[in-house]
């Protein structure tokens, strides 16, 4: 395959433009010094409604989402549309808890959700558990952004074998790493404007133009239906069947509960300037969901257009993440395909930057400062986080180059299941300290082990793999320690993460009751009920002003 000059030129020009923005961002709304985690890692905690909308939107709706969701519809049909109930549910669900999280973090200067857990329970151990879970769940997510970026680069013709094939990706990431190091969260916040405007433009044009070109939605869905009728697999189709509806609903709910437990989502929220900014965004962010829904349908357009995924020259396998790039390549003039590729490519940079910043914040606050250097000054923390962000990104690149990208997708699947296990410690604790801190640890261990055990036993008939083949666990196999199978003989499937969370909560409840009977000390609570309602301008939020020079 030859290199496509028009597409590549547009891509390089736009990539160059956002690189300049990334470096200039350090001078955008500057604080006193960037050498502080509140500044480098949270952009000074002063983003207003517009910036937050672009930042959080650019953060949650990643390039991987825009590439993987249509690819899922392309290969599995209706099941891939679970992204819709997921994103319909998530904002109403987190509306109230996020306000509490923002207020308490603002009053106490918490940079991460693990900081909050530490303050709430006086337990560095529980905080460490939360931090490590969050970091482990985020790492493959960063790697997946690279997968999307590489899918675009390979579609543009940079599809060489061996390490040469990874060189463009490596170059792009070095640039990203340097300006993130330099500007912190301000860089992705500024670049998100470009990314999102490009994405909106591209998808709106595609969704209006492609159905007309391909003979209308009726014939597009007809083509999809015909494809799924031919396959041996009974789980696919343009509608859900009796067996996968429970999976559809629990996957949507589980994903919605998990989303804001991811550190990058939390970082975007904590960087907002006030509660009303968050409230407004809970209503405005679903605009992105609409976009995602329309984008998902492009997966069916790809079926109707007869798209075949590219062969990845580095792995030799068929790369399903190239479906959307190939669709744009085939159906649109070169210059527009170039814009679409840039949208996806830049769309990978924004979340990758925020994720690496969020992971570095966790490392710095809840591991480095807590266990390695107690007396670290704010300058030390900022320096440590910057270096950590470089290592995180480098790790993600090595992951993609050395290991098969398929493992990144598997690990992302596992990541969704394990991040759910911190829900009782982070989410429930925002409302009540009823759970005992040791019970939360016990529940976490139980949920984690059960979740991983289930995922290990899910095969994937399509790829012929025995383990980690998906997140749909057969309900008929659910058993109580092998003694009792309540749903024996059922052919339905359920989201493994949801079951693991149930086990986690049940174990935590039982352990709490036991520990309370034994009157074990439950740590000291550093927060006050009023902290959870503090708003910008409140006496509790700006005490810093009066304490200057103290």
């Amino acid at each position: 395959m030859t290199v496509k000059p028009t597409e590549l030129t547009i891509f390089v020009v736009l990539f160059g433009a956002v690189t300049v923005m990334g470096f200039v961002a350090s001078r955008w709304k500057p604080g006193r010094s960037l050498e502080h985690l509140d500044e480098w890692g949270l952009g000074g905690r002063k983003f207003g409604s517009w910036v937050s909308w672009f930042l959080i939107g650019g953060d949650l709706y990643t390039a991987y989402t825009f590439v993987a969701v249509p690819a899922l519809l392309f290969s599995a049909g209706a099941m891939g549309f679970f992204a819709m109930p997921y994103t319909i549910l998530v904002y109403p669900l987190v509306f109230m808890p996020l306000l509490r999280m923002w207020s308490v973090s603002r009053v106490h200067g918490y940079v991460t959700h693990a900081d909050f857990v530490r303050g709430r329970y006086g337990s560095p151990t529980l905080a460490l558990l939360v931090a490590v879970t969050a970091i482990v769940a985020t790492m493959p997510y960063i790697a997946l952004q690279l997968v999307s970026l590489e899918a675009v680069l390979r579609t543009m013709g940079l599809n060489q074998a061996g390490w040469v094939g990874h060189l463009p990706l490596f170059l792009a990431f070095v640039i990203l790493a340097v300006y993130t190091y330099q500007s912190g969260l301000r860089a992705p916040a500024l670049i998100a404007f470009v990314k999102d405007i490009l994405i909106y433009l591209v998808i709106i044009v595609a969704v209006l133009y492609l159905p007309i070109k391909l003979g209308g939605w009726e014939s597009i869905f007809g083509a999809a239906d015909a494809k799924f009728q031919q396959t041996q697999n009974t789980a696919d189709g343009v509608l859900l069947n009796a067996d996968n509806q429970l999976q559809y609903a629990t996957l949507a709910l589980g994903s919605a509960l998990a989303l804001f437990l991811y550190p990058h989502a939390m970082t975007g929220v904590l960087a907002s300037r006030s509660r009303s900014v968050i409230k407004l965004n809970m209503s405005a962010l679903p605009l992105y969901s609409l976009l995602l829904g329309l984008m998902a349908l492009l997966g069916y357009c790809a079926i109707a257009a007869g798209v075949r995924p590219l062969q990845n020259a580095a792995t030799g396998g068929s790369d399903s993440s190239t479906i959307i790039p190939v669709l744009f390549d085939q159906q649109f003039p070169n210059w527009f395909a170039g814009l679409a590729f840039s949208a996806i490519g830049i769309g990978a940079l924004v979340p990758a930057a925020i994720m690496s910043i969020a992971a570095s914040n966790l490392w710095t606050r809840n591991v480095y400062k807590e266990y390695l250097r107690r007396d670290a000054t704010p300058e030390d923390e900022a320096r440590q986080a910057k270096i950590a962000s470089l290592l995180v990104k480098f790790g993600a690149v090595v992951f993609i180059v050395v290991i098969n990208p398929q493992y990144a997708i598997d690990l992302q699947l596992i990541g969704g299941v394990i991040i759910l296990q911190i829900l009782p410690a982070v989410g429930v604790s925002l409302y009540t300290r009823w759970f005992h801190r040791q019970a939360l640890v016990t529940g976490w261990i139980a949920g984690m082990l059960y979740g991983l055990w289930m995922l290990y036993h899910v095969p994937n008939p399509a790829s012929g793999r025995q383990h980690f083949g998906g997140s749909a666990y057969p309900l008929g196999d659910v058993s109580l320690l092998g003694l009792w199978t309540p749903f024996d003989g059922s052919t339905r499937t359920i989201y493994a993460g949801f079951l693991a969370l149930l086990v986690n909560v049940v174990v935590a409840v039982v352990a709490t009751l036991v520990l309370r009977q034994l009157r074990v000390f439950n740590g000291a609570d550093a927060t006050d009920p009023a902290d959870y309602y503090a708003e910008e301008g409140d006496a509790r939020v700006e005490p810093a002003y009066e304490r200057v020079g103290r």
Partner: protein, 103 residues
């Protein structure tokens, strides 16, 4: 170390009346309505179609807009719950925000 240093936590003004532990506002209950989307049998059908799209797809797209309407309504109706000062210069001092700074 098991607890945060108490002097770093901003003291609550003593003259303020004690706030209730949880603020109740019935408008917030609207946020529970979107949970209905979990009942897949409600919309797992082909007809009626819209622009040739099966019901399953266009109904969920419409639900995004319904969700927006609900959260917007809650936003507008609970505005007074939050005490906001606008137009004030930003006096945020990042150093003193960080409660761990002097640990």
């Amino acid at each position: 170390m098991t607890s945060l240093s108490p002097q770093r936590i901003p003291p609550r003004p003593p003259q303020r009346p004690r706030q209730p532990r949880l603020r109740w506002n019935a408008w917030n209950l609207l946020l529970l309505v979107p949970l209905l989307i979990l009942l897949t049998p409600l919309y797992n059908r082909v007809d009626p179609r819209l622009f040739g799209m099966p019901f399953f797809y266009w109904f969920q797209l419409v639900c995004v807009l319904i969700g927006v309407a609900l959260t917007s309504l809650v936003y507008v109706m609970t505005k007074e719950d939050d005490y906001v000062i606008t137009g004030q210069p930003d006096r945020l001092n990042v150093d003193s925000l960080d409660e761990g700074a002097g640990r």
